[in-house]
């Protein structure tokens, strides 16, 4: 059990890194508290697996520190960090039985045989592997194999953390849910720090208390699924989380207003104070499709838009519409009237987010 701290950590695979792009992990500070259930969410190639391998010790970071309970472990190999890792494809020892697979890490640690017996049976019970204990591991199904690889992590006492690298990729959809619940249950039971890498936001949200969203080698936001949804700190988070992702509009700042084509939107005062003196490359306004207000009738605060398309997704509709030349989306309840051709929409202030250089600008007192 351990608290894992990343201190100015960075990693590059190139020998002579010049630009930030050369870094698979750009400098980051991050604390994974003991006993937390975390997800590391991001698209392929964003550095999730690299970060995971640095935490487990399969990879030594090129810069910065990694601390387990305050002790620097940068150059400690995985075996000395007492960490467990479950990989994308189940790794099992083909020639061994399920029992021997589970006992393997214990035998490598020269644990007395009677302790191995009791520990393996305990874990097998939790993972519902008991009936399979004497089967050859190579004849198991993919989800059983993945449970065996998980079990090998769990049999050891006091593992600092269990790391999962997209462990459900090869599992059938209906079993995914079951296995994910099992993970959650194990987390509650053992109070082990778990870090779960995935590119599936649903998987991340159901598993983790807190999600770290990674993008281009950085953690762009670390927060609860709720926070990520309501208050994305970076345009990427807005775009990546939610389905469909956040709507964005490129705007210019002119005096007191954001200008979007021929439209003028008033800038809230607190935000204006903050961005007025900021050098910027881009300003974007973002709003989630869920928060776009669709009116039944024309009214003063609503903009008239052309409805392009409407998709029925069962319990809700996604309406695509054109505001000036920009395509945006809105999510409608199934009992809401679906506008045809023309619609009137507005953006509630509290949900309209301002992003300068892709990062959220917040009013301070929020």
């Amino acid at each position: 059990m351990a608290e894992i701290v990343l201190n100015a950590l960075a990693h590059t695979y190139s020998r002579k890194p010049n630009a930030p792009q050369d870094y698979a992990i750009r400098q980051m500070n991050q604390v994974w508290e003991q006993g937390g259930a975390y997800a590391l969410l991001g698209p392929s190639g964003c550095g999730k697996s690299t970060l995971l391998n640095i935490i487990s010790g399969l990879l030594e970071p090129s810069d910065g520190e990694i601390l387990f309970d305050g002790v620097k472990v940068n150059s400690l190999p995985p075996e000395e960090r007492n960490i467990a890792q479950v990989f994308q494809f189940p790794v099992i020892y083909d020639t061994m039985t399920v029992f021997d697979n589970l006992a393997f890490p214990l035998r490598n640690m020269k644990t007395p045989a009677h302790l191995i017996q009791s520990k393996v049976h305990e874990i097998a019970d939790i993972l519902e592997l008991s009936p399979l204990l004497h089967k050859k591991a190579k004849n198991l199904t993919a989800d059983e194999k993945q449970k065996v690889s998980m079990g090998r992590g769990l049999v050891r006492d006091n593992v600092s953390a269990i790391l999962f690298d997209e462990p459900l990729t090869v599992i059938d959809p209906q079993l995914k849910w079951k296995l994910r619940r099992k993970l959650k249950q194990i987390h509650d039971q053992f109070n082990i720090t778990m870090i779960y890498v995935t590119h599936d936001q649903l998987e991340a949200a159901t598993f983790a208390d807190k999600i770290a969203v990674m993008y281009e080698g950085q953690i762009v936001q670390f927060g609860s699924p709720h926070e990520l949804f309501e208050n994305p700190k970076h345009t990427f988070v807005g775009y990546f989380i939610g389905s469909p992702g956040m709507n964005f509009m490129n705007v210019q700042l002119e005096e007191q207003h954001f200008v979007f084509e021929d439209m003028k939107l008033k800038v809230p005062e607190k935000i204006l104070d903050k961005i007025q003196h900021l050098p910027y490359e881009s300003i974007k306004l973002g709003i989630r499709p869920e928060f776009v207000h669709v009116w039944d009738k024309k009214n003063d605060e609503a903009y008239e838009v052309d409805v392009i398309d409407s998709e029925d997704l069962g319990t809700y509709h996604i309406m695509t519409f054109k505001l000036r030349n920009q395509l945006l989306k809105a999510r409608l309840h199934e009992d809401q009237r679906i506008p045809k051709h023309k619609a009137w929409i507005s953006f509630p202030d509290q949900w309209l987010k301002v992003y300068v250089n892709e990062y959220l600008v917040e009013a301070d007192d929020e």
């Binding site: 391998n53 487990s56 399969l58 190999p77 995985p78 075996e79 960490i83 467990a84 890792q85 990989f87 994308q88 494809f89 790794v91 020892y93 083909d94 020639t95 061994m96 039985t97 393997f104 890490p105 490598n108 640690m109 004497h134 089967k135 050859k136 190579k138 004849n139 690889s149 090998r152 992590g153």
Partner: protein, 288 residues
């Protein structure tokens, strides 16, 4: 529905039938035919039943050749297999070094069999051969045409030199196909180097090793050209293996009948050993 009777369709099988007949069945039947007859000349022949088979099985020289043959195959295999695996494990995994290694290791495989024999024949000569000369200079009495032990050792060394690369290459390709995650998981499970070999690498090599062992067994059991060139089967008959004995009998002495019976027995032995080996391995792998 009425099934249309059209037996002419059977003619479509004819090409395959002809091909197999000429490539396998007819030559084999010819041998069977000879093996049960005593042939004097093209017009004079007598049916002798299983007599040649009995004679061959009771022939002391052939029995000893068979024993030597088994000894030889067993010895070379038990050296080449572990050595090949070892080399594959030590080979660099990527980059220029890996390519260079592969080419260097594969070189002996590219040399024609009788050239291998010739190379080693010269290599072992005490007047001009590097090994023979060096050993003589070191005071070692080494002579493959007088001392059977020297002859055996040299033939085995030659075979190991020639064929270990095959095993090494097969194993190397097998090792390369193991995903990195297995090694990472093993590190996390604190597996020792030996445990990684025993529980990850060796199981993943089983399939290539089966092929390797079968190929090497068959080839070593049929070895002919190399010892023929190197020692000529001597000194005495100490390195006369089965195929050389057979050649002498069939072509040298023109004993077609016994040679045919011998061929059939030879063939059946290889078939039987390969089959036993293969089924044993397969049964060992059988699912519980």
């Amino acid at each position: 529905m009425n099934k249309i009777e059209n037996n002419k369709a059977w003619f479509l099988v004819l090409p395959v039938f002809v091909l197999v007949a000429f490539s396998a069945i007819i030559p084999l039947m010819t041998v069977v035919n000879y093996s049960v007859q005593d042939v004097f000349d093209t017009n004079t022949r007598y049916f002798v039943g299983t007599e040649w088979f009995k004679a061959i099985l009771n022939d002391a020289a052939l029995q000893s050749a068979l024993m030597k043959q088994f000894m030889f195959s067993f010895t070379t295999l038990s050296i080449e297999i572990p050595l090949g695996i070892g080399i594959a494990l030590l080979m660099p995994k990527r980059g220029m070094a890996a390519s260079l290694c592969l080419v260097l290791i594969a070189l002996p495989l590219l040399i024609p069999l009788n050239v291998v024999g010739t190379i080693w024949q010269i290599f072992t000569r005490s007047d001009i051969g590097l090994m023979g000369w060096s050993l003589r200079e070191m005071g070692v009495a080494y002579n493959i045409s007088r001392n059977p032990v020297d002859a055996w050792a040299t033939i085995i060394l030659m075979d190991v030199w020639h064929w270990t690369p095959l095993i090494a290459l097969l194993c190397y390709s097998g090792l390369r196909s193991i995903p990195e995650a297995y090694y990472q998981a093993a590190r996390i499970d604190r597996a020792s180097r030996w445990a990684i070999f025993r529980y990850i690498q060796l199981p993943k090599l089983t399939n290539v090793l089966i092929i390797g062992i079968l190929l090497r067994f068959m080839d070593s059991f049929m070895i002919y050209a190399e010892p023929f060139v190197l020692t000529g089967g001597g000194p005495g008959s100490s390195t006369t293996f089965l195929s050389q004995a057979l050649t002498t009998m069939a072509i040298g002495q023109f004993d077609v009948g016994p040679a045919a019976a011998f061929s059939i027995i030879y063939f059946l032995i290889i078939l039987a050993v390969s089959w036993v080996f293969y089924t044993t391995i397969m049964n060992m792998q059988k699912e519980k």
